[in-house]
Symmetry: C2
Amino acid sequence: MMAAVPPPRQSGRDLRSPGNRGGLRRRRRSRWLRVPMAAARRSAESAREPSPGVKGGTRCLPGPCLAGGGGERFCASSPFRGGSGGGRTRVAGAEAAMERREQAVVPVEVLAAVTREQFLQDVYPRRMPVVLKGMELGTCITKWTVDYLSNAEGSKEVKIHVSAVPQMDFLSKNFVYRTLPFDVFVRRAAEFKHKEYFLSEDEKYYLRSVGADARKDIADIRKQFPNLAEDIQIPEYFEKEQFFSSVFRISSAGLQLWTHYDVMDNFLIQVTGKKRVVLYSPRDAPYLYLSGTKSEVLDVDNPDLEKYPLFVKAKRYQCFLEAGDVLFIPALWFHNVISEEFGVALNVFWKHLPAESYDKTDTYGNKDPTAASRAIQILDRALKTLEELPEEYRDFYARRMVLRIQEKAYRNDYG
Amino acid sequence: MMAAVPPPRQSGRDLRSPGNRGGLRRRRRSRWLRVPMAAARRSAESAREPSPGVKGGTRCLPGPCLAGGGGERFCASSPFRGGSGGGRTRVAGAEAAMERREQAVVPVEVLAAVTREQFLQDVYPRRMPVVLKGMELGTCITKWTVDYLSNAEGSKEVKIHVSAVPQMDFLSKNFVYRTLPFDVFVRRAAEFKHKEYFLSEDEKYYLRSVGADARKDIADIRKQFPNLAEDIQIPEYFEKEQFFSSVFRISSAGLQLWTHYDVMDNFLIQVTGKKRVVLYSPRDAPYLYLSGTKSEVLDVDNPDLEKYPLFVKAKRYQCFLEAGDVLFIPALWFHNVISEEFGVALNVFWKHLPAESYDKTDTYGNKDPTAASRAIQILDRALKTLEELPEEYRDFYARRMVLRIQEKAYRNDYG
């Protein structure tokens, strides 16, 4: 039986409804939670503590109201929480201005005990992220301590990201790539202060495993970490021939990965540690200031709204993963991941489209399907043709082209 | 000397500033006039009368505040003018809702005594519509009475539009094409009630002159109406080789022509009668619900906002033409024309782009430049390619294509 579960913070108890025998039971569509940007930010340290009421404003508990699945508790945030305190008149203009700084937070749906059949029939076709709890993942859940990991795979070399700041930026490349023996890397990633380091004593580490030859081979835990692979049972909620990669991800507490999308469906299996994942629908791409597959908006909690004014229009989905949770991330869904604790995850990617749709040279699962790349190349030829016209004409026909795309290729079942 | 002039309603007096000797003097950028949609509508009959204040609302004179060039007088419209009267609280939400039903009206700039040199140097490069007053147009201004027109060109056959309703709709084709002798047509167009008619006794008539073979030949008053052509002096504010067509336009009082754009620059020379012209910038194309070169929004004064919600975002430029006025309509500017009186106009089109940019088969001046047509054809191939992908991918990459067009081909000097 598969059932909706309460927020993960309380998931120690089995809260599955005994009356739910009719297959998939879902929460009613969660009420949106409007919270100011600043309130949506929680440091890794305070993530588990409910915050006290905000001084001078309406009392609000950002803890539970931001938790995945916690949509039924409502965070009544005052529009002036971020302001200078009480005594201000509620002027329409000011209210609207504050409104713009608030962002909807939608908890990602949380389901427990979902079978393969239920997933394929009821969950997968919806193309929405879902947290799956209570999955059978094997002995890794209890075994994968720092010592065990180090011993299991020893001193084989791994290429890692090292960052002096928690927030990694792929666009400005504020991190470096280094190579370390796996066991040394695991110990360093698990510690807060380092005696030996590359950049600074509190540098952060991040492993995203790759194939033997990163340019040609695809990451597969069974090949690169065969001993550890034996401990984990991957939920094969897809056909064997759809399998693309299994990527080992190990990161320091506090490390934040840039917002990006992948072109494959995937399960992010949180084996140990905790993560906060913020997601955005593919339809919100226009508000994410993309550069390739990545968003230029690095700090999703305190975005620079002067620079990225449309970012507030992106609907923020959010969940908190605990050890043993599996997050289904559909292809094209943007995600931003903070490791709230040192943690080990396995990220399993599989093909949703027919195999021939994908770029054969793609080892990371983030190259656009070939039809999409071709369409964009053809579009570039159209834009080249428009360049023959003066600016006012180019602008006008560009607008007409946009209208044509919206009319012909946009979904009309999106709200 | 060329000078800014006050609203055309007062233009009988010469108000040119004696102190303005330094070439082109322009009004300061007109303050926008926010008026509710309904207030923007004026029937041909009441066009010259200032309206009284609106009952139960703020006093407002839609007459002068809608007049071309009258931008300095401000119409303080109450947000509740269209509502149920006083006593309602000004709630932010309701205010915003009413706000959405209001539309900015920008008077088209009015200039007098503009020389060819001044036009080419100061006006033309701005690519904005302008009403030119006091142009030397020849004897047509006094000569072209109904009798004179009828006698001058006699009973040669002309193909005309006949409509039982004032508002012609090219998309639903709510009018018919008929053929009449020119002299009969002119008399019918000038009268309100007809003894002889095709559809109804108050049907409206409209002539848009065409070449000898409408499919191959281009309208030229010198060829189709050689006698009348002698009476009019066309302001040749362009090079001879740029000339494209001179289109005779004669219409019944009250007749309204659908909103559309042309791809050539043109002068609409109002020889006799009065017109109200509403214009929209090419950049507002996304709000006009286009079907080819025409807007689906037929009633610009009382648009169906359920069906066309974005229409309110289009900035409404407006002017009133009197006998002797010349309206410069830059290529791509949308225009909607109401004949407030029976009137005769000559519409002179010329090429702004190099001659080879235009479609060789275009006899009306409304086929898109070849580079634009090619770009749209290429875009259609890109969209065809996207069709290989499932809907969610197609939608996503369509959005990315839109972002790419906006980034690469939109002007960035538009506000």
